[in-house]
Every structure is written in structure tokens, then in C-alpha cells.
């Protein structure tokens, strides 16, 4: 598997116009921050949400300096609003 599976939720899915996509990391050892730049370029509607978003890599919250590798699952998480 050479791509990353990207899941989008809530307002992020709405703005991107997709709930799920596949994307290649820009380089080996790319960070989540670098991966986000590729994603935001592909789905420009996401860009203005940047400061409100959290991310998960493989089902756990991840920082922007986390590494994203082929085969990972990245989730784009707007501010949660459960309850």
C-alpha cells in the first residue's frame, strides 16, 4: 500500500466535499503538517478550517510533527460536539 487513507468528519467532510480519500505522502518520513499541505491543496475548502482541526493517525490523536507513512489512516477532526 503506497497511499494514506484519509477520513474526514463533520464540517471537514462538508467543506472538502468528500468523506474519504487516498493520498500519497509528499515524501518518505513526511510529517502530518506536510501531509496536511497536500490535502489542503487538493481540497481548498478545508484550508480556512486549519486552526480548528485536530488529526488522528491510526485512530489516536496525533501532533503535527507526527510521521505519516504509506498504509496509515489519517482522520481530519473538526471540534468535537458530542453529548
Amino acid at each position: 500500500m503506497s497511499t494514506v487513507r484519509v477520513l474526514l468528519f463533520g464540517a471537514a467532510a462538508d467543506r472538502a466535499g468528500v468523506r474519504q480519500t487516498e493520498l500519497s505522502p509528499p515524501a518518505a518520513g513526511a510529517s502530518l503538517e506536510e501531509f496536511w499541505a497536500v490535502l489542503a491543496e487538493r481540497y481548498p475548502g478545508l484550508a480556512p478550517m486549519r486552526d480548528t482541526l485536530a488529526f488522528a493517525v491510526n485512530g489516536e490523536y496525533a501532533r503535527l510533527d507526527a510521521t505519516v507513512s504509506p498504509g496509515d489512516e489519517v482522520a481530519v477532526l473538526p471540534p468535537v460536539s458530542g453529548g
Binding site: 463533520g10 464540517a11 478550517m49 482522520a75 477532526l77 473538526p78 468535537v80 460536539s81 458530542g82 453529548g83
Partner: protein, 143 residues
């Protein structure tokens, strides 16, 4: 007991199952869809979605956090997904503990943490559009 479900929540049943002879206090919390009205428009229903199984794991983390901090017997958290109508429960928390202080504190902790860390989102469906709660993303006219 942690559960994410599309079925309606039954607080009576949930609480009844939590009663135990070693627990003298049962504190519960239920969140319901509150109806706001803005001029002519009104909320018709809410729609909840979750990132699973991460959401299930985060609820389990909350139960673990409770059991580390307080002496409790039963912990039950149920969150609904899908369409929830105004006045219907969207989340129910039941904590049975030997003493009332921990029961109250743990139920309050549970709902605060749910609102902070569990990847669940809701969208208000109004008669004139929708609003993603907590995000500046909406289709209805700005009030």
C-alpha cells in the same frame, strides 16, 4: 459498559441495571436536544456521526479515567448516533458508587470529557438549513 448506538436511550432501564447492594448512590446525566428558535426557523432534528472505533476507545478511556480517580461500582455510558429529535436523549451516563461524592464527580467528569475528546459530531438540521455545531460551517442564513 460503553455503547454507541442508533437506538433510542432508555434511562430507566440503564439505571436499573446499575443498582448494586454495595453502591448507595447512583448519579445519572442525560443530555437532550435543546430547541433553540431564531425568528421563523427552528431545529427539526440533530444528526450525530462518530469516528469509530476511535470513539469507542475514547469512551473506554473515560471509564478507565473514572475508575482511576474514584471508587465506583458501575459505569455506563451510552451515546446515540444518527437522527435525534428535540427532547430526546443523545447521551446517558450512569455511575453507581458506594458514596455519593464520587458518583456526582464521576458523572460530571464523564460528560465534560465526552465533550472534549470523543470524536462525535452533531449537525443541527433547521427548517432553513443546517449548522455543524462547534464549527463555523453552516448552510442556513446568518441570524
Amino acid at each position: 459498559m460503553i455503547s454507541i448506538t442508533e437506538e433510542p436511550l432508555d434511562l430507566g432501564e440503564l439505571a436499573a441495571g446499575a443498582f448494586r447492594p454495595d453502591c448507595g448512590a447512583v448519579a445519572t446525566f442525560v443530555g437532550t436536544t435543546r430547541v433553540d428558535e431564531t425568528g421563523e426557523a427552528q431545529v427539526e432534528y440533530l444528526e450525530y456521526e462518530a469516528y469509530r472505533p476511535m470513539a469507542d476507545r475514547k469512551l473506554e478511556e473515560i471509564e478507565t479515567g473514572i475508575r482511576c480517580q474514584w471508587e465506583v461500582g458501575e459505569v455506563r455510558i451510552v451515546h446515540r448516533l444518527g437522527r435525534v429529535y428535540p427532547g430526546e436523549p443523545s447521551v446517558a451516563i450512569v455511575i453507581a458508587a458506594p458514596r455519593r461524592g464520587p458518583a456526582f464527580e464521576a458523572s460530571r467528569y464523564a460528560i465534560e470529557r465526552i465533550k472534549e475528546i470523543v470524536p462525535i459530531w452533531k449537525r443541527e438540521i433547521w427548517s432553513d438549513g443546517y449548522v455543524w455545531v462547534g464549527s463555523q460551517v453552516a448552510t442556513r442564513p446568518t441570524p
